[in-house]
Symmetry: D2
Amino acid sequence: MSAPKKVVLAYSGGLDTSIILKWLQTEYGCEVVTFTADLGQGEELEPARQKAELLGIKPENIYIEDIREEFVRGFVFPMFRANAVYEGLYLLGTSIARPLISKRLVEIAAETGADAVAHGATGKGNDQVRFELAAYALNPDIKVIAPWRIWDLSSRTKLIDFAEQNQIPIAKDKRGEAPFSVDANLLHTSSEGKVLEDPAQMAPDYVYQRTVHPEDAPDTPEYIEVGFKKGDAISINDEHLSPAQLLTRLNELGGKHGIGRLDLVEGRFVGMKSRGIYETPGGTLLLEAHRGIEQITLDRGAAHLKDELMPRYAELIYNGFWYSPEREMLQAAIDHSQQHVTGTVRLKLYKGSVRTVGRWSDHSLYSEAHVTFEEDAGAYDQKDAAGFIQLNALRLKLLAARDRRLKN
Amino acid sequence: MSAPKKVVLAYSGGLDTSIILKWLQTEYGCEVVTFTADLGQGEELEPARQKAELLGIKPENIYIEDIREEFVRGFVFPMFRANAVYEGLYLLGTSIARPLISKRLVEIAAETGADAVAHGATGKGNDQVRFELAAYALNPDIKVIAPWRIWDLSSRTKLIDFAEQNQIPIAKDKRGEAPFSVDANLLHTSSEGKVLEDPAQMAPDYVYQRTVHPEDAPDTPEYIEVGFKKGDAISINDEHLSPAQLLTRLNELGGKHGIGRLDLVEGRFVGMKSRGIYETPGGTLLLEAHRGIEQITLDRGAAHLKDELMPRYAELIYNGFWYSPEREMLQAAIDHSQQHVTGTVRLKLYKGSVRTVGRWSDHSLYSEAHVTFEEDAGAYDQKDAAGFIQLNALRLKLLAARDRRLKN
Amino acid sequence: MSAPKKVVLAYSGGLDTSIILKWLQTEYGCEVVTFTADLGQGEELEPARQKAELLGIKPENIYIEDIREEFVRGFVFPMFRANAVYEGLYLLGTSIARPLISKRLVEIAAETGADAVAHGATGKGNDQVRFELAAYALNPDIKVIAPWRIWDLSSRTKLIDFAEQNQIPIAKDKRGEAPFSVDANLLHTSSEGKVLEDPAQMAPDYVYQRTVHPEDAPDTPEYIEVGFKKGDAISINDEHLSPAQLLTRLNELGGKHGIGRLDLVEGRFVGMKSRGIYETPGGTLLLEAHRGIEQITLDRGAAHLKDELMPRYAELIYNGFWYSPEREMLQAAIDHSQQHVTGTVRLKLYKGSVRTVGRWSDHSLYSEAHVTFEEDAGAYDQKDAAGFIQLNALRLKLLAARDRRLKN
Amino acid sequence: MSAPKKVVLAYSGGLDTSIILKWLQTEYGCEVVTFTADLGQGEELEPARQKAELLGIKPENIYIEDIREEFVRGFVFPMFRANAVYEGLYLLGTSIARPLISKRLVEIAAETGADAVAHGATGKGNDQVRFELAAYALNPDIKVIAPWRIWDLSSRTKLIDFAEQNQIPIAKDKRGEAPFSVDANLLHTSSEGKVLEDPAQMAPDYVYQRTVHPEDAPDTPEYIEVGFKKGDAISINDEHLSPAQLLTRLNELGGKHGIGRLDLVEGRFVGMKSRGIYETPGGTLLLEAHRGIEQITLDRGAAHLKDELMPRYAELIYNGFWYSPEREMLQAAIDHSQQHVTGTVRLKLYKGSVRTVGRWSDHSLYSEAHVTFEEDAGAYDQKDAAGFIQLNALRLKLLAARDRRLKN
């Protein structure tokens, strides 16, 4: 790869990406454009602007954007239509944010005439893959710079030294190393590393940042109603909300009741297993509610096909293949199924758990006439079941007859 | 079908199967053998013997058996190796018991020279299919009699009349209709029908029989450790237990903490949707724990393949195809994966929810050396990630280059 | 089912459906509407009109339609986008025609105020299922009458007697039984039954009707070029053709070279195995050509996903679930993949076989620069492969290390 | 990676691997062990011994082995049980040989105390991946050396210069470059590169080495009978043959009739598409015959599951994951299905194509009594089909009723 001339950096304003910023300037003598996004991580963005300016970035090269609505509408919601869960439990909160960041990096590169993008993910994780696959899929000629895989600032001490030598301000609490690493956005907070590295040890209470301890949650259950239209949540307790507003509100509700905590050891795409603590309060409610409304509005054939496709779909997102033909094909199938996933679900929230306790819809496929124990008025002829069973059994009988024949 | 000469009846001792017993005698003039099994439903079996004798069954034709160990060891545990869940939520508590009952019915028919078996499942449900597919798969020439699809005792009144005319004792509380219908075994209790038929309405509290209300569960969490060997649970808090003992103990623990309740609308194999309330306290703990131990002992490739195969596997069991070549094929694949699923999981039980909070194993694939944020001693070269990404990206780049080329 | 008042009958004009026509009139005293379609079966339709009139059908109740274009455009082509093959070999020629016939039956019922439709498929085959599932999916209240499952005209003699008693003209060669049964449309001819019932015996030469014997095919290969646009064939040797014209022309070419014969024992949806002889000359060319053009225009991720979904898709069509949410979901995924499946394939046709020998496209993803053995100009860095392999190998190494550790 | 001390080289005796041999000695000053295997590639092995000795390899470090039987029995046959085909057409002839070679390399390394293995595959292909993943899966600590990714002998001229400087004898016809590259073993011959790099151009006749041109094949068809036992072929025309003997004989038969040629553009695991000409005469017969015997001996449920799993299975082998838990899981499922795949298939071989024309087995599931058009003796009650259809249709009716309801 030839040296980059102008780089768009995914910039948080924190110490690590500030060091990267300076390192890019030093290493390549190149112009740097910073991109700082509000994805709902809960940090103010203006300090990032000031820091970028301090590090010599021209005002027109500082991009600060609130992309929460696009995040939820264009990424989180499509993913939840699939009931996507990685390895049975993980709601993909980090995975789903990366392609959007890459998309904006590549777009800003096009706008500013940059030939490269850069990110602060390490060489051991999945995020580097997600950032870079998305970038290459959107611009095959873009250069992607991953300083963590290149430089020799491989210890905390070296990083701090570099920062000091380059007049990068260091917050007091950043001098030492954090006891664990955090990623956050509107969908989730993940924590990993350091004190969490032994999967046998219970995560310390202070790791959790977004949900109260179930033991501290209210002693009284709360019931909420989530409204859906064509597979996407649109309201809470009859109040219509934009996608990001809705997820924000679900986060508050879930967090208050201690819902959505997950302690997981997962298989990374880069090959090793890692342990993470995830908090996805709103997403956990959303998944439960979406399954609840699908129960009455989605046909069995469609529902089972979705369930079979889901693990692959989740794996694609986890591995960074959001912008791939196969993810889009699966999305086309999933979206097709959601046309009638419209209605309302009642959830019970209580001390760490959420359960569907009711659901209703004009689009319901549930037919009391067919299922009732009462004598029905001809909706269903029980005698049909005999023929149904006979024909389903036929091949099994032929198998059993063969076994018997061969034994004799 | 020619008239049966001798029938083995799945007999609970209750009113309905007593009526069936008498109806079989009356309708076909045939000898009846009763089979009453303890599957952990929590009812005494001896009253069934007395009732059968009262209805004229010869002592040698009364089979009463405790098959709980076989149930858990040969059916429940193999199923949990697959993390089987139907439609995302249902732990298949009823489905998994049916093939075992059929197996014993067919075996007893062979022992007693009977040419038919009979069951008390209705023509609207899945259980008739499960009973009959299993029976035909085990003996292609067996006759299966399903009185509910044949007779005209289609209302409660007619049933009671028939019982009275035939001197079948009717317990006082059985004269009226139950407000809902129940099935129970060591894995779960399911309730459906009548007061539960409106899926919008919350199930009344009195429906739940096996789990306390989460609100009434202890205010202090309980931590337990479940030990696994080759995919099957073998101990709780270091105490080795037989399969049925272990599930019994998990049921007590889960039930005490209000864990394992499910309110579900599901798609029946016979075509309509139905609503059920399930309580699977021990199974819910077992599933969580099994996923927990797989997290560190199962390779990603195996784990993801299992996740992809699972919905089909669950569907096969739900639909009654336990004894089918395709279920056995899937089982062979799943069982192969469990060779190293050995170790211990710590669970936190609290007011309706269960979470894995730790897991350890001599068979662990988790490698702190590979995942650590610390400078590692060469276990993993971060530069490898660059090549990994480049080659994974290549096809995406070629796609993007095509798109660009065609646009110009 | 209450008696039908007016029935739309799928009417071929042959003896069997003429008997059905009369039987419907006799049995139910109902008005009959006949629907005779040209699906490319190679029979004239006007004799059907005359016969219908002779049997008392009012002119306005006689529907005769050429639906070949709709058949190929709306059913055959979408199916070939999926490379659909049932049980590895069968191109679904009969299966794919049934839903279209049912669609027209139901539409004509709506136009004519009929409350029922009727078909001439027997109770042992798949076609009854395909006709009826499609009809019910399009009109849940329609009545479907399948006389072969109802009447007692169960032998050839009884049928002939009924025909004679009812003044139904009987062609001389229809008096005895045909040595095998035939279904034909623009996609294929299938033959089964009677002389073909022993799967060990080679099918007699006279069974084949649409393809020459490979031994009799031209001694010189013929090369043709098939053009595709978005997954559908649009031209042969640069001549643009409508869908039905194109398939007709491919049939001529394939038939002339003895291509597309298949001797298959297949698993029917109704449970038993049956043996069929299929001739699908044009379809066989089309499948080969479609795979050929996909080779250079379809990304690997999309191609592999398609291959994995295909068996399910084919099974759905075979089983009669064309009009089902899950078939439509799969179609949405497949269609999404075909956007760039545009280009030309050269086929070699010779004595019973067809092979792709060249393909080219403006949409090609093939890059000589990447694949060449020559020193390349930097399109691909071979060193990247090392990292790619290392990270793919990591989990396998961890597995091997565990095995070694446990052995010691 | 630290420098290797002793390397086991996959050594063909040809120019390229002789250069690698010398390069290893020169570059690392390490001892080299050569492994030359007869996999049925049709070359004599003794010249390899002489050449190795000439290049200074000690006699005890020269391994020459005929592993054809192990190749077919342990790799080819298990793969054919799955009917494995990559991207619809490729029979995986190269892919399946690599893991066996790696297995022997690793085993010889253990025997000889070597710490590394080396292969001659380039950095652009799949073979490097297959060699290395297999090696690492069998010994996580082994070093793998791939000189083509390391050295700078990147042009033909440089290679020849190196050979001359190092006294490596160069056959006259190797001085220039071959017009294409070849890999061969008992299963297939593949040709690629150079004159084959334009996928639009027909492959020249001289590329084909193992099959006659169909036009030159005998004018008379040949019929053969292939016997199977538990999924593996065991005899041809009633003559029992060992696995390698059998495949050799099938190769002769297929080659004589011009069968098994394939011109394919495929998606490589390393990301680009490549074009290959494959000749798999015996394998093509074997696949057809195996499908033929499965048609009557394999249950529909098992057969369809196999078809759905197959693309994944083939992809795993193609990508080099033979020694992976997921391939083994799929193999367990597939092998389980083959218990009754026993019987005989008659094939017709004629001018480039092979077709099943008959099959029979004591294990047959085909039942003429069930399928016959004749009046049967009660094996099947056509009325059962009505119930079967009604219950399969129920969910489709409920869907249609919803659509209608929502429209009004």
